[in-house]
Amino acid sequence: MKEMDRYRGVWVFAEWKDSQVIKGSLELLSLGRGLADELQVELSVLLMGDRLGGIPEELIYYGADVVYVIENPILERYTTSPYHRILCDLIRENKPEIVLFSTTHLGMDLAPRVACELKTGLSAHCVDLKMDKENRQLLQICPYFDYMATIVTDTRPQMATVQPGITSPPRRDDSRQGKTVRVEFKIEPGDIKIVEVEAKKEEDTEKIEEADVIVAVGRGLKDMRLAEELASVLGGVLGATQPITEAGLLQESRMIGQTGKIVQPKLYIACGISGAGQHIVGMQNSGTIVAINTDEKAPIFKVADYGIVGDVSKVIPALIESLKG
C-alpha cells in the first residue's frame, strides 16, 4: 500500500464565537459533506475551545459524522502554539486525506504552520473545491487575477483555506446522528500571552454588508460624485474595489472582495470594475448584478445579469435621469 493510500476521510476545522459556529465554518461543512460523500468516507469536524456547550451536537446536525472535541481553559481564545500542536498530533494519528479551514485570521495563522510541520501543500483563498475521484485528488480553485487557477497537492493531507461566502451553510437537521469523540491532551499554554482584547470602533457608520443596494466603484470611474448621486437616487451605499480604497478615494471599510467584505445586496451595480477573481468572491451572490464597463470582454460580465458596454461617466447620468423619471 502506498503511503498516500493510508490517508482517508475529510476534516473540517470549525471556529466558533459567542457559543455559535461561525458561518464560514458551516459553509465548510457544506463543502466537506459533498467531498466526503463523493469519496465515500466520513466527514469529521475538529472543535477546540472551552465551555463548548451544545456546539458538538450542532455540528452533527449540520452534517458531521464525527466531532473531535478538545476542551480546555487554555484553548478558550486562540493562540497559535497549543492549537497547532493538537492539530498536528491529531492529523498524524488519524491521517485524513483532506483538511479544510476557513480564510479567517485564525485559519490563516494556523493552517500554514500546520502544513509546514506536516510538510504538505496548502492552497489559499479557494473559491471552489472539486474532486478528481480517480486519484482522490482535491482540485483547489483559487482566484488568479482575472483568471482562476486549479491547484493540487501531491502530498497528504491536502489542505486548503476556503473563502467565506462561496456557498451556503447546510440545512440543519436535528434528527441527524453522529459521534462525539472527546480527546484528552496535555496542553501547554504556549509562547504567546494575550494581554488585552478590545472591540474595533467602526468609524464608518454605513455597513455595506447590510445594504440592499450597493453602487460599487472601480478604477474605470473617475468622478466619485456620480456614484454618490446614483447611490442616493437608489437609496444605496457606495462600495469599491481594492485600488479605490488603497488610493484613499473611499474608506477601507468599503472594499469588497477577498481582502475586503463579502456582500449580498439585492442590487449591485459595478461601475468601471474589471471583475478580478479577488473582487468577484465578495459580490457574486448578490441578487441582481448590473455591470457597466467599456470593455465588452471584462470578466465582470460573466457574473452580471445586465451588462452595459459603455463609458460609465455617460451611462450613470442617463440612468439617474431614467430612475428619477
Binding site: 497559535t80 485570521h105 490563516m108 495563522d109 493552517a111 500554514p112 504552520r113 509546514c116 510538510k119 501543500g121 496548502l122 492552497s123 489559499a124 482540485l139 488568479y144 482575472d146 483568471y147 482562476m148 487557477a149 486549479t150 491547484i151 493540487v152 497537492t153 501531491d154 502530498t155 504556549g190 509562547d191 504567546i192 500571552k193 494575550i194 494581554v195 488585552e196 482584547v197 472591540a199 474595533k200 437608489l234 477577498q258 439585492k266 442590487l267 477573481g277 468577484i280 457574486q284 441578487g287 441582481t288 465588452e296 470578466p299 460573466k302 457574473v303 445579469d305 445586465y306 451588462g307 452595459i308 458596454v309 451611462v315 442617463a318 440612468l319 435621469e321 431614467s322 430612475l323 423619471g325
Partner: protein, 258 residues
C-alpha cells in the same frame, strides 16, 4: 538586536498573458512588495531606538538585487539574495524553507519581520511557515509593535477586534499596511545604499538540496489556469444610452429593486 526582514519583489503592475493566463514579469519593473516596505520601515524605527543590524532576505532572479537597493536606502544594513535556478517555481513551503535556512545562518537574529501578504499571490503563508522552520513564535496581522526587554508587545488587527499579545524573543511578526508610512529614500540614501552589501547565495552555498527547493520542494502545483465560467446569463443592453438606461430602470422597477 539583529532584525531580518523578508522581502519579495513583485511586478509594479499586474498584467496577465491573456492566452496563457500567466503573470507577465518581462518588461515590467520589479518593486518591493507593498507591505514588505512597512516591515522595513518598522525595522528601521526599531533600530533607531534599540540599535542592531537589519538584514533583508529575499529569493528571486538576479535583478531583485536592484529592488533590494530601495530597502537598503530606507535604512537596512545589508541584503541576502537567494538566487539560483533550482529555486525557481517554489511554492510557499519551499520559499519559507529557503528563507529560514538563510536566517539560521545569520548571527543573533532576534526579530524576523514580514509583510502580511504579497501583492502578486497573496497567500499569507510564508510568515508562519518561516516561523515554524525557525522554531519561534509567530505574531500575525500586527499594527503596533513594542520591544520591552526580551519580549515583544504586539497589537494584532483582527476582524472585529484588536488583540494585544506578548511573546518572548526571538519571534516572527507579520505586519499590516496600516502600521506605518514607509519613508521615501532621498538620492543621497540611494547613493549610500549602493555601497552596502548584497550577498548572493546559491542553493549549494546554503546546503540546500535540489528536492528541498524550487518545484521539486513544492508540494503544491498549479495544473490549470482558466477564465472563470459565466455564472449568470448576462443580458447585454444595446442601443442608445437613453434607451439602455430607461429599459434598465424599468426592469429594476418591475423587480421592485428601486
Amino acid at each position: 538586536m539583529n532584525i531580518v526582514v523578508c522581502v519579495k519583489q513583485v511586478p509594479q503592475e499586474i498584467r496577465i498573458n491573456k492566452t496563457k493566463g500567466t503573470l507577465i514579469r518581462d518588461g515590467i519593473k520589479g518593486v518591493i512588495n507593498p507591505c514588505d516596505k512597512n516591515a522595513i520601515e518598522l525595522a528601521v524605527t526599531l533600530k533607531e531606538k534599540h540599535g542592531g543590524k537589519i538584514t533583508l532576505v529575499s529569493m528571486g532572479p538576479k535583478d531583485v538585487e536592484n529592488t533590494l537597493t530601495h530597502g537598503l536606502a530606507m535604512g537596512a544594513d545589508q541584503a541576502v539574495l537567494i538566487c539560483d535556478r533550482v529555486c525557481a517555481g517554489a511554492d510557499t513551503l519551499a520559499t519559507a524553507f529557503a528563507l529560514a535556512t538563510v536566517i539560521k545562518k545569520l548571527d543573533d537574529v532576534q526579530l524576523v519581520l514580514c509583510g502580511k501578504e504579497t501583492a502578486d499571490s497573496g497567500t499569507q503563508h510564508v510568515g508562519p511557515q518561516v516561523a515554524h522552520y525557525l522554531g519561534i513564535p509567530q505574531v500575525t496581522y500586527v499594527v503596533n509593535l513594542l520591544i520591552e526587554g526580551s519580549k515583544i508587545r504586539a497589537k494584532r488587527q483582527l476582524k472585529d477586534e484588536y488583540e494585544t499579545v506578548e511573546a518572548g524573543l526571538p519571534a516572527l511578526v507579520t505586519v499590516v499596511k496600516g502600521i506605518n508610512e514607509p519613508r521615501m529614500p532621498t538620492y543621497l540614501d540611494i547613493y549610500e545604499a549602493s555601497k552596502k552589501d548584497t550577498h548572493k547565495w546559491c542553493a549549494e552555498d546554503l546546503g540546500l538540496k535540489e528536492d528541498e527547493v524550487g518545484i521539486q520542494g513544492s508540494p503544491t502545483r498549479i495544473t490549470k489556469v482558466f477564465a472563470p465560467e459565466a455564472k449568470r446569463e448576462c443580458k447585454m443592453l444595446r442601443g442608445s444610452i437613453e434607451d439602455i438606461s430607461s429599459s434598465l430602470a424599468n426592469d429594476l422597477k418591475s423587480k421592485g429593486l428601486v
